[in-house]
Amino acid sequence: MALLQIDNLTVQFETSTGWFKAVDGVSLSVEKEEVLAIVGESGSGKSVAMLAVMGLLPWTAKITADRMLFEGRDIQNISASERRALIGKDIAMIFQEPVASLNPCFTVGFQIEEVLRVHMRLDRRARRARAIELFKQVGLPNPEERLNSFPHQMSGGQCQRVMIAIAIACNPKLLIADEPTTALDVTIQKQILDLIMALQAKNGMGLIMITHDMGVVAETADRVVVQYKGKKMEEADVLSLFENPQSNYTKALLAALPENAKGDRLTTVSDFFDGNPEPAPSVAGLNGASA
């Protein structure tokens, strides 16, 4: 049984010109202890699909799916209280902007202990011990002192470590990381990715890595889903995706990597492809016109 299984998920928003499909019939599944990367450019619906799973979309969004199962249990039509018990405990999420996703008014210690209080019902002393243990796990120096720090007193990389500590506080079965390193420097990115991967292996979590960076995909994923304009373009294990991409969009993406530049020019996903409703135009057309 898959850890998370989504069949034919569609998310729509109402606009002045009718319903806009942010996610259009996407199906995916994550096994236990598997790392799935969802890759796509901005507007491809990769974050929206996962926010729909988490139930974090505003009420204006119309979410339909044939099936949305977590450990075989339906998570589409559950009550708000059931969802609250599940989210943050069994399914946890790390967001892109670490500094913005922490509450600036409370110490990071308070914020991590809040999770432990709500979900694990630990007493004060146990909470503090667990918080220190978690901070040690994510490699924050002086964890006892750090608990009393406010987010603005820490660097972006440290805030992201706190976010990871909060996410793994209740030993989730599934961790969703939404562009966890986009706002960080290359050297810090490496540390954070290594940390997430180490925790994933140690705790045996399922991990969904949402990213637009092919480098991050190459370094972390077991399996990859490529999304474009709300539709799934391709799904493959990481090696075959890079070695032998099937969809033209994936080919174009890989060709656009600066390290894959042939001669002086970079191949681009051309503008005509942008306006084309057909998701798989010929490769020749892709390479032909560059803007």
Binding site: S42, V186, K190, D222, V238, E243, A256, P258, L266, V269
Partner: protein, 284 residues
Amino acid sequence: MSNDTSGNIMLELRDIKRDYELPGGLFKPKKTVQAVKGVSFKLERGKTLAIVGESGCGKSTLARMITFIDEPTAGELLIDGNKVDTRPGHLTADMRQKVQIVFQNPYGSLNPRQKIGDVLGEPLAINTDMPASERRDRANLMLTKVGLGPEHYNRYPHMFSGGQRQRIAIARALMMNPKLLVLDEPVSALDLSVQAQVLNLLADLQDEFGLTYVFISHDLSVVRYIADEVMVMYFGEAVEHGTREEVFSDPKHEYTRTLFKATPKADVDSIRARVAAKKAGKAA
């Protein structure tokens, strides 16, 4: 110029420094932050120098000094062989015209209430006494040069995508026919496919106008693609400087090596190695 080599140098920095003073409080003494601690380099005409480093290493401060936004605390700045008097009020219009900058965030660097045509015409309106009709022609010409069209002249910034906005920012910088263009992380806010388009555009414009680029980036794969020379900065100092081949094939400084090691590798061999290592780890 007195000799050939100096005539071919577009930009020269001699031991440029920049300190920022943090004001003290009642119990807090004044503090001086040395953002740039003495950087020197020469850059030839028509070449691209990439400046790499993590946030807070002083690379943007350096860009601000080259474009006269910030005044250096010490050191000399030579542009086109002429020493620049960087004191406020002493800068000639001629100097300002030679150096232009493109900022990182195309959403923040365009005035939302200004039409694109006015965005492009403004540098000319301020710096020259060109009639409005000629400014309009020039703006339309520049729009086509950066891959947009005259139909975009009367639109507002919010009507454009991130990549298009970055094209507009580049067009604005080119309106004064500069010789030196400072690009402060011009593609880091853009998607991969759009990034490729903008990089191609920059390469085309460099050929067409004979531009010299100072390209600030933290993405080594982009740097490797676009740069002729690479300078690595670390805590306000230039720890490594050389041609692209020198720096990428044989990094001397410890920090440069750390940087290379940290950059994700997207080639098939390293993925295969990683997948194999993971399988082995699971079996054990």
